[in-house]
């Protein structure tokens, strides 16, 4: 019946960047993996921790400077408030496509059964503890523990 050759059964997605464009792709990959019936884990490291930071995850912004994909002159991108304006514009476009904001997207992914984990080295670096992170984060783990969780699956670094 169906072609079962080379099916991916499990993915672990690392999110290492703290900008809107740095966070969404990994979330979409993990969510899509669950929708396909794969096991999925998310590992938030370095600035990617902002995606699961209780106070910050609602305020993630598009990088308006050093982001050639925006097709915006560098001097213009540096104007005060430009990052907020571009973020607002993106949020509007995403809403039209029914892509939820980051907090809602993460809640949905956690509800789908994916495992959310924070990187211990990064949490230590930024002085963050489990209390600073949203409830959906299952644990703060080491790199070694991440590899153990990821065993037998694909690892995607974003």
């Amino acid at each position: 019946m169906s072609d079962k050759t080379e099916r991916i059964e499990k993915v672990s997605v690392i999110i290492s960047k703290g900008s809107l464009e740095g966070i969404y792709p990994g979330l979409i990959m993990a969510n899509g993996a669950r929708a396909e019936g794969m096991e999925a884990n998310l590992f938030f490291t370095f600035f990617g921790l902002d995606a699961v930071h209780r106070a910050r995850h609602e305020h993630v912004k598009v990088a308006a400077v050093g982001n050639p994909g925006l097709h915006l002159a560098t001097w213009l991108g540096g104007l005060p408030g430009m990052s907020s304006v571009m973020t607002h514009y993106m949020a509007h476009k995403m809403d039209e496509l029914d892509i939820p904001p980051i907090p809602e997207m993460i809640e949905m992914i956690a509800e789908s059964g994916a495992g959310l984990y924070a990187c211990k080295a990064s949490a230590d670096l930024f002085g963050l503890g489990a209390a600073d992170l949203i409830d959906q984060v299952r644990d703060v783990i080491t790199v070694g523990e991440f590899y153990a969780l990821a065993a037998g699956g694909e690892i995607i670094f974003t």
Binding site: M1, I28, G32, A35, G37, P100, M108, S112
Partner: protein
């Protein structure tokens, strides 16, 4: 394309086992696809989701992806994954006899 027989009904399916003609579907076909997919006996909650899938397909020409399915059906994301562990939109569409939804969210 291949022909499968579910509950005595011949249906045309694509390479992944999705019906290519939704009009060939009936509830007996659904029940048997569900068993073949390892879901077992369909509960009222499964049927509710399957009904939403078919209605959305009839109205819009495509079944919803997971988030839209949760919104339209009123069944939460967590429960959808309990009902259809191999992927709610994908599995419900297969059982509902409609094409695989192509949404990413």
């Amino acid at each position: 394309m291949a022909v499968m027989t579910y509950a005595g009904t011949d249906v045309d399916v694509d390479a992944e086992g999705f019906l290519t003609d939704a009009s060939q579907w009936n509830e007996g076909v659904a029940a048997e696809i569900a068993r073949a997919e390892g879901i077992g006996e369909l509960t009222d909650r499964h049927w509710l989701v399957i009904g939403v899938m078919r209605r959305e397909f009839e109205e819009k020409g495509a079944g919803p992806a997971v988030r839209a399915l949760a919104k339209v059906s009123g069944v939460g994301i967590a429960e959808l994954y309990q009902l259809f562990p191999k992927g709610p939109a994908k599995e419900a569409a297969k059982i509902a006899g409609i094409p695989k939804p192509r949404g990413c969210i």
